[in-house]
């Protein structure tokens, strides 16, 4: 079942198209990573989804409705968009009480979410003195007030230390395992690969690819790099066995989509001398960079 549905979402700011005909779905009970380089249009998309930015075209639905039509939205979707929208003179607790009040959420719940994000000790401190990491936690606390089934988080790991990132990952996984739905944006695929079930990758406001993390992993390649004084012979022999290989330098052959065992057996059968053999693979971050690379620059 679809928790979040984006259809043909487009936003133009004058001559600049920030988001261009973007469509994707987020299913209930999953963590979906919304990934793209800086300036890809992630934040604009999330803001359109939450009714903060008016789309030029298209729709964004949360639980089947536009966000603006949700009655007491804090109970359906919790959103944490930026760690800067705080009145610096208010305490963390009062900031949350102000968010809780229009949704008639009890103050006891405010204390609960402060505890949940590990900010209970700082509850009565003014937000102006908070670090970026503490502000991120406070934003998350605001999103959790109504204990919603859906969370929309924009770059929530910005400013978090490694322990904080780990904590957030565990926290999101636990919520998803309990049936919650999370749409979380980031410009780092590797960061989300450990926790996300699905990924939606955008660049220049357009969808690049979407699918499960496993599907994305399948698109990454692997190869065996062999350093040998008989590179030409090895290259010819691998070709005769039907392996895809290339002569990367006079003493090096790169064989694609093979295992070291297959190459080793071939080398032994031909009686070739090998100085070094190394299995390598493209990781998700490399795949992401390749997918979002500026083709004009790379060509």
């Amino acid at each position: 079942m679809t928790a979040i549905s984006v259809r043909g979402l487009t936003k133009r700011f004058g001559d600049i198209t920030a988001v261009n005909d973007l469509s994707f779905d987020v299913m209930h009970g999953t963590i979906t990573g919304f990934i793209g380089p800086n300036g890809a249009g992630k934040t604009t998309t999330l803001r359109m989804l939450l009714g903060l930015v008016h789309p030029t075209a298209g729709t964004g639905l949360v639980d089947g409705s536009p966000y603006q039509r949700l009655d007491r939205p804090a109970f359906t979707v919790g959103a944490a968009l930026e760690a800067t929208g705080f009145h610096p003179g208010r305490t963390a607790r009062n900031h949350l009480r102000i968010l809780a009040h229009p949704n008639r959420i009890a103050t006891s719940r405010v204390d609960e979410v402060l505890e949940e994000v590990d900010l209970a000790d700082a509850a009565r401190r003014r937000v102006g003195g908070f670090s970026l990491g503490m502000r991120q936690r406070l934003m998350l606390a605001g999103a959790l007030l109504g204990d919603p089934r859906i969370l929309v988080l924009d770059e929530p790991t910005n400013g978090l230390d490694p322990a904080g990132v780990h904590w957030l990952r565990e926290f999101l996984r636990a919520r998803a395992d309990a049936g919650g739905t999370i749409l979380v944006s980031s410009h780092l695929l590797a960061e989300l690969a450990l926790s996300a079930d699905h990924v939606v990758i955008i660049k220049d406001g357009r969808l690049v690819t979407q699918g499960t993390v496993e599907e994305l992993r399948r698109h990454t390649g692997s190869w065996v790099r062999v350093r040998t004084p008989q590179a030409n012979e090895l290259f010819a022999m691998l070709g005769s066995r039907g392996f895809r290989a290339e002569l990367s330098s006079p003493d090096e052959v790169v064989a694609r989509d093979v295992t070291t065992q297959q190459v080793g057996e071939a080398v032994a059968a031909a009686g070739l001398v090998v100085y070094e053999m190394k299995a390598e693979e493209q990781n998700l971050e490399d795949a992401f960079l390749e997918l979002t690379a500026d083709k004009r620059k790379s060509s």
Binding site: R90, I98, P102, N103, R104
Partner: protein, 244 residues
């Protein structure tokens, strides 16, 4: 709507700047009242114990209204200034309801502060021994008109602030509306417009007598008209804005 107005009042209550504004309003009001009381007995000032002196003293308390109007501006513009619009609209997606709640909250604060300033002025007057409080029609008009006027100024300034958005520029609105226009119109020979200006309509409402003063009902209509026009313009601007 009551809940949203309550939220806006809570925002004020939990912000230190509010208390500075309120303290400044009361101090300014008390200072102006003391100036009036200090002039009692001099040539041209109302007689001790007269109803005219009572009206002058209580009327002088309205001086703090300028600071309250500045606070009304801040009720709206600080959302832009501190980028808190995002969290406010995520909690309550209806921009119309949020803005109307802000206007109502501003008006409530304006009226309550006006009442407090009246009390402060009355207490200072009674302590001085020069003022006696006897409720008559003119005093009643000053008190009721004063409360309505304070609510109106706060509403109008909040609505114009929504239209402007920028806090620094919006903070110029109260002095321009409450002081400058009223002074400039006669200076440029536009006396005929004075009763129709917000300041002129307010002056008529509290019972001050001047050439061309409007009747109470007309003053009220003029003030409501200004408030509605500014509110609609402010709402349209905020409704259309992208919060980014």
């Amino acid at each position: 709507m009551t809940t949203l107005v309550g939220t806006e009042l809570l925002k004020l209550y939990w912000t230190r700047a509010t208390w500075f504004f309120l303290a400044a309003a009361l101090l300014l009001s008390a200072f102006r009242v003391e100036l009036v009381l200090a002039s009692v007995g001099r040539v041209g000032s109302p007689l001790r114990g007269s109803s005219d002196l009572t009206l002058t003293v209580l009327g002088a308390s309205g001086m703090g209204g300028l600071v309250v109007a500045l606070l009304a501006v801040v009720i709206v513009t600080r959302e832009f200034h501190y980028a808190t619009w995002t969290s406010t609209l995520i909690a309550t997606p209806s921009r119309l309801r949020v803005l109307v709640a802000k206007f109502v909250a501003a008006a409530v604060v304006g009226a309550v502060l006006a009442a407090v300033m009246f009390v402060v002025a009355a207490v200072l007057g009674l302590i001085s021994g020069d003022v006696t409080i006897g409720l008559d029609r003119r005093l009643l008009q000053l008190l009721i008109g004063g409360l309505i006027s304070a609510a109106f100024w706060a509403w109008l300034c909040a609505a114009i602030a929504a239209l402007i958005g920028n806090q620094t520029i919006a903070l110029l609105v109260p002095p321009v509306l409450m002081v400058l226009i009223g002074a400039l119109l006669p200076a440029y020979g536009l006396d005929i417009l004075v009763p129709w200006a917000p300041d002129g309509a307010v002056t008529s409402l509290v019972g001050a007598d001047f050439a061309g003063a409007l009747p109470i009902w007309a003053s009220l209509l003029v003030l409501i008209g200004y408030g509605l026009i500014a509110s609609i313009a402010g709402l349209r601007r905020v409704q259309r804005a992208d919060i980014s």
